[in-house]
Amino acid sequence: MLMHIPSLKSKTKKTSITTLEASPFLYMPLQAYKTPLKPLVNVGDLVLKNEKIAKSNGVFAGSLHSPVSGKIIAIETESEFPHIKIENDFLDTCIEINSTSVEHLTEEEILETIKNFGIEGSGGAKFPTHTKYNTQQKNISHFIINGAECEPYLSADYAVMQQETEALLKAIQLVQKVIKAEKITFGIEKQHKELQSHLLKNAKKLNISIQIKLLPNTYPQGGELQLIKAVTGKELPKGSIPAEHGITVSNVGTLWAIYEAFYNEQPYIERIITISGEKAINRGNFKVAIGTPVSHILEEIGLPWNTENQTVILGGPMMGKAIYQPETPINKGSGGVLILPNPTNKRYNCIQCGYCTDVCPQHLMPMEFARYNTEKNIQKLYEFNLNDCIECGACAYICPSDVPLMKSIVEGKNLLHNA
C-alpha cells in the first residue's frame, strides 16, 4: 500500500511569488554539510549585501553571504543554532562582483562560481551543489529535476516551475554544460500535471529537450531514492552516490538559486518559501532572505509569535521541525514556514496493524524501532535496518495508535551512532 496524504496546496499553489519585507536583524546560519562554516567577519564589522561572511574548505566546501548591508552585531558559534547576527541598515549597498558573460564560462568556472556563491541543495540535506556536479568524468546518463514536492502545504517548487520557468530551464542548460547528461527528466506529481505542457512548451522555446515523468501522488515521492526508482527503475540503497549510477538529481529550488547566481550575479542569499497552515492568515509563496528569523515572518503576515496555541514549523509538516525559538532563521534548505494547530496526542498501544510497514518507503518495520528503542537494544535496532530509515515520517503519520515512532527512530539512531 502506498500512502496518499492530502496535498493541502490549493491555497498557495497559484499565488504569485512576492518578496517579503526584509527583517531588521538576520541570523545567518553557520550549519553546513559535515563541518560548520567559519566566520570571515568580526563583531562590529560592516558588511555589504552579497559579501561572503563565512566559509568552509575541502570537498564539501560551503560559503555564506550577507543578504543585506549592515553591521555584524554578534557571532554565536556555541549556541543551539550557530549563527552570525547582522543588523540590517536597509541601504542594500551591494558588493561589486565582476563576472564574465555566461556563454563563455568553462566547466571549471561554472563549478567554481557554484561553490563561491554558496549554492547547496535546497531540499534540506545541505549537500554542496558543486560537489554533486563535479562528477569527474563519470558518465551521467540521467539528469533528474526533482519537482515532486511531496510535503503537504508546500508549493514553492510548484511556483518556481510555473512562474520562473525560463530561469529554471536556463539553469538546467548551464548545469548541462558541466554534467552533460544524455537525458533530462522532470519528475512531477500527477496532481500537478498541468505543468507538463507548460514546461514542455517553454523548453521547446529554449531548444532544450526534456522529458516529463508524471509520478503518483504518494508520499514520499520526492525522496531522492524514490524519485530515482520512479524515473530510472534503479533501486539504490540509502547512502549510495547517484553519480556512480550515472544519475544526478537536483531540486527546483537549487536550480533557481543557480540561475540567480549566473544571470543576476547574486549568491545564495534568498530563496522561495511557502507560508501556509491552518493558522496562517496570509498564505502564499514568498521570496525571503536566508537568515530571516521565523518571528519576523510571522509578524509580516500579521501573526503574533507564540508557541502555546499554535505550532510553528520550519519546513514541511512531514519532515520539518517545530520551532520554539523566535530567532530561528530560514536556511538554504527550508521550503516553508507553517503555522499549524498544536498536535493532539491520541496515544494507544501498538495494535500490530502493520500500517507503518505498509507505508515505509524503505520497507522497514518501524514498530520494531519503538520496541527495541525502549529496550535500548542496539543490536536489534541495527538488525532491523534503522540506519536505512530516511526519517520521512510516513510511519508516524499513519500509525493509528500514535506510537512514538519518530522519537524512537531519532533516539535509536543516536544509540547506533554512539555505539
Binding site: M1, L225, E235, C353, M365, M406
Partner: protein, 362 residues
C-alpha cells in the same frame, strides 16, 4: 518538544479501526436477533457489559490506562466470542467467557495490541475448558425450539427447490453459532472492512484458497463436514485480528495459507466444532515469528534467499508439528490441559516481564 510529522489523518485512530469492525459485525447481530430474538441479543449485551467491566477493573488495578476502556476493542472481542457459540448457551458461561477473554486474552499480556492470541477465541476455549459438559454436549446445538423466524425459501421465482434452499441458506439460515446465520452478511462485512482498509485481502484470500485447494488434492475430502459460515466468519473477522496476525504482506499470505492448511488437517484429524478456532490459535502462536521471517526486503538491499527459504521450511515444520500435537491431544480429550498450561505460563510471564512493560506502547 514535538517531533514530526505535525499532521495526522483525521478520524484514523485505533478507536475508529474498532468502530469499523463493530459496524461490520452489526448485521450479524441483527440476523441473530431475527433468528433467536431477544435471547441472542441479551447474551451479546451481557458479554459486552462484562467485557467492559473487566476492562474497567483491569485499568484501575493493572494497566492504569483508562483510555483503553472505551477504545472499542472490548466490544469487538465480546461480539466475536458470542458469534462462535450457541444462542442457548447459559448466561453465566457467557459472562465467564467474556471476562476471561479480556483478562486472559488481553490484560495479562499487557493490554490491547500486546496479546499474541485472539482474545475472543481465548474466551471461547476457556468456556469449553471450564464448562466441558455443557459446552461440548450435542444438546447445546439443539436450538430448533427457540427459533423465532424459521429459514424459508427466499427466491420464489426459482423453480428448482434444491437451488432455492441452497441460495436461501446462503442469505439466511438458523443452524450453528450466533454469527453464522448468513454467509452473505459475513461477506458484506468483510467487503466493508476491505474497502476501509481495516483488513487486507492477503489473509482471507490465502486462507480460503489453500483451504479449498486441499479438497481438490485429498480424494475423500468431500466427506469432511464443516460449517462454511463458521470458516468464513473465522477467516474474515478472527484470522485478520491485527494484534495476533503478522504485520507484513508476505507474512500475511503465508499466515493465511497456513491457517487454511491447518484447518483442513484438523478436519482430517476429526477435530469437530473447534477446527477453526484451533487453527487460528495455532497460527496466532507463530504470528510474530512469521512477521520476522517474512521481514520485507529493505530498499536497495539484497535479500538472503537461502536463509529465508531455510527459515520458512523450519517454520512450516514447526507449525505442522504443533498441528499434529493438537490433533492427538484432542483425540485423547486433553486440550483442557493446554489451557491450564497457558494460564500458568501467562501468569508467570505477566508477573516477571509484561507488568514491567505495561506503560510502553509496544
Amino acid at each position: 518538544m514535538s517531533l514530526n510529522p505535525y499532521i495526522k489523518p483525521k478520524f484514523e485512530t485505533t478507536t475508529t479501526v474498532m468502530v469499523d469492525v463493530i459496524i461490520a459485525l452489526l448485521p450479524l447481530s441483527i440476523l441473530s436477533y431475527i433468528a433467536y430474538g431477544m435471547q441472542a441479543i441479551q447474551l451479546q449485551l451481557l458479554a459486552i457489559g462484562v467485557a467492559l467491566v473487566t476492562e474497567l477493573i483491569s485499568a484501575v488495578l493493572v494497566t492504569k490506562n483508562y483510555r483503553s476502556i472505551l477504545d472499542g476493542s472490548a466490544v469487538v472481542t465480546a461480539l466475536l466470542m458470542c458469534f462462535t457459540i450457541s444462542p442457548i448457551t447459559p448466561w453465566y458461561i457467557v459472562a465467564f467467557g467474556a471476562a476471561s477473554a479480556i483478562l486472559f486474552g488481553k490484560i495479562v499480556w499487557g493490554g490491547l495490541g500486546k496479546n499474541r492470541f485472539n482474545p475472543a477465541l481465548v474466551g471461547r476455549e476457556f468456556m469449553a475448558t471450564f464448562f466441558p459438559v455443557i459446552m461440548t454436549s450435542a444438546g447445546i446445538w439443539a436450538t430448533t425450539s427457540y427459533i423465532q423466524t424459521p429459514a424459508t425459501h427466499l427466491f420464489p421465482g426459482l423453480t428448482s427447490d434444491y437451488l432455492n434452499s441452497y441460495l436461501s441458506g446462503l442469505v439466511y439460515k438458523t443452524s450453528g453459532a450466533m454469527g453464522e446465520y448468513s454467509i452473505v452478511a459475513i461477506a458484506i462485512g468483510g467487503l466493508y472492512l476491505l474497502i476501509r482498509n481495516r483488513i487486507s485481502w492477503h489473509i482471507p484470500f490465502a486462507l480460503l484458497a489453500v483451504f479449498f485447494a486441499c479438497f481438490w488434492f485429498v480424494p475423500d475430502g468431500d466427506d469432511l463436514k464443516f460449517s462454511l459460515a463458521g470458516v468464513l466468519l473465522g477467516t474474515i473477522f478472527m484470522a485478520t485480528d491485527m494484534p495476533s496476525s503478522p504485520t507484513n504482506t508476505n507474512g500475511k499470505l503465508y499466515y493465511g495459507g497456513m491457517i487454511g492448511l491447518v484447518t483442513f488437517l484438523l478436519l482430517l484429524g476429526k477435530v469437530s466444532y473447534e477446527y477453526m478456532s484451533f487453527s487460528i490459535l495455532i497460527l496466532n502462536g507463530f504470528s510474530r515469528f512469521i512477521s520476522l521471517v517474512f521481514k520485507p526486503k529493505v530498499w536497495g538491499q539484497p535479500l538472503d534467499w537461502q536463509s529465508r527459504i531455510e527459515q520458512i521450511f523450519l517454520l512450516t515444520l514447526a507449525i505442522l508439528g504443533v498441528t499434529l500435537a493438537v490433533i492427538s491431544l484432542d483425540y485423547y480429550h486433553m486440550i483442557p490441559y493446554l489451557v491450564y498450561v497457558y494460564i500458568v505460563y501467562i501468569i508467570f510471564k505477566f508477573n516477571f516481564s509484561f507488568l514491567k512493560n505495561i506503560s510502553n506502547p509496544i
